[in-house]
């Protein structure tokens, strides 16, 4: 599970309930539970290596093309 936000990762690991995280309680406990059972781990991934940027915002070339290569999107018949 790769996320590029350190705060979100920290909160997921942190057992203390903050005031600020109160309204995300359900999601928090859900993630925490899965973390504790060892099902997932959450390493940090720097923004440059984040692959899902193309799913959340408009991305320009060359980043767009690089990301697609990393995702394994190819053009078998007309390789660029």
């Amino acid at each position: 599970m790769y996320c590029d936000n350190k705060a979100a990762i920290a909160i997921a690991h942190n057992p203390v309930q903050h005031d600020r995280t109160k309204h995300v309680e359900v999601d928090r406990h859900f993630i925490k539970e899965k973390l504790e059972s060892g099902l997932i781990c959450t390493p940090y991934v720097p923004t440059e290596e984040q692959l899902v940027d193309i799913l959340t915002k408009g991305v320009q070339n060359p980043v767009f093309k690089n990301t697609l290569d990393k995702l394994g999107m190819k053009d078998l018949f007309h390789p660029a």
Binding site: C3, I31, L55, G72, D75, L76
Partner: protein, 322 residues
Amino acid sequence: MQQYDVKNAFLHGELEEEVYMDPPPGFNHSLLPNQVCRLKKALYGLKQSPRAWFERFTKAMVFMGYRQSQRDHTLFIKHSISGGVTILIVYVDDIIITGDDFVERDKLGKRLSAKFEIKELGKLKYFLGIVVAHSEKGIFISQEKYILDLLKETGMVDCRPCETPIDLTHRIENDKEGATTDKGQYQRLVGKLIYLAHTRPNIAYAVSVVSQFMHNPKDSHFQAVYRLLGYLKSTPGKGILYKNHGTLNLECYTDADYAGALTDRRSTSGYCTMMGGNLVTWRSKKQSVVSRSSAEAEFRSMALGICELLWMKIILEDLRIK
């Protein structure tokens, strides 16, 4: 992977309800005036016939010793004593069978054709508009034909190709003043693009943006769709290649765009999951609540990503893949 197609699938369904119909024209009325027919089997056009067909199919599969996956009801699995596995997936009347137990696979094909009228289409090549190509490198899926048909249909064959599907700083928002456009045409077009996003994570975000204005499309939204078509034109053959990377690790990448929507300040979450280095599922979705910090927005997409991972884990457990 073998592909099958069931002929007249809906006629196989058995009805539980009492359904009557008028005698068809040409039927001799004089013998039985004022009478109706009670249906024993499903007919095309009945509301319950899809369900009746699927129920009948499920029964037949369970009878042959297959187990229906509880996480995806169209998935049927059988583990042979020899350790092999046979997997069947069905979409209405289209069936794909795969597995490493060749004896069982042949047997299944024969038993299915004995029960229903089935056409064997051989190796999986073309399924629901998706072209599947097998090569030494791996399995490649794309929707090239679907894209070319779409471009032809919209008269965009000669349009200007674009490098990216959507502008970096796009301002596609609720546009109150803009000229109204043909709503039906917009909805049909975007519906096709949504289907296209099945093999193209690269347009998922752009499609999710334009589909937010389905109810009241304006000229500016049409422009965005045309740009997207321009992008498709420049890369019609792009698809996903599945190859063996030697691992079966499950990975998930999540991200969020905090307060990306201009009018309601909601965030967008996105995730993609990879199995053994191959892209499997992805999603781009506008969040349903307003997040008060970027960490909170990221957090929500983490939860969304984990849901997907858990679902995949259960499916893999069903298939007994470790």
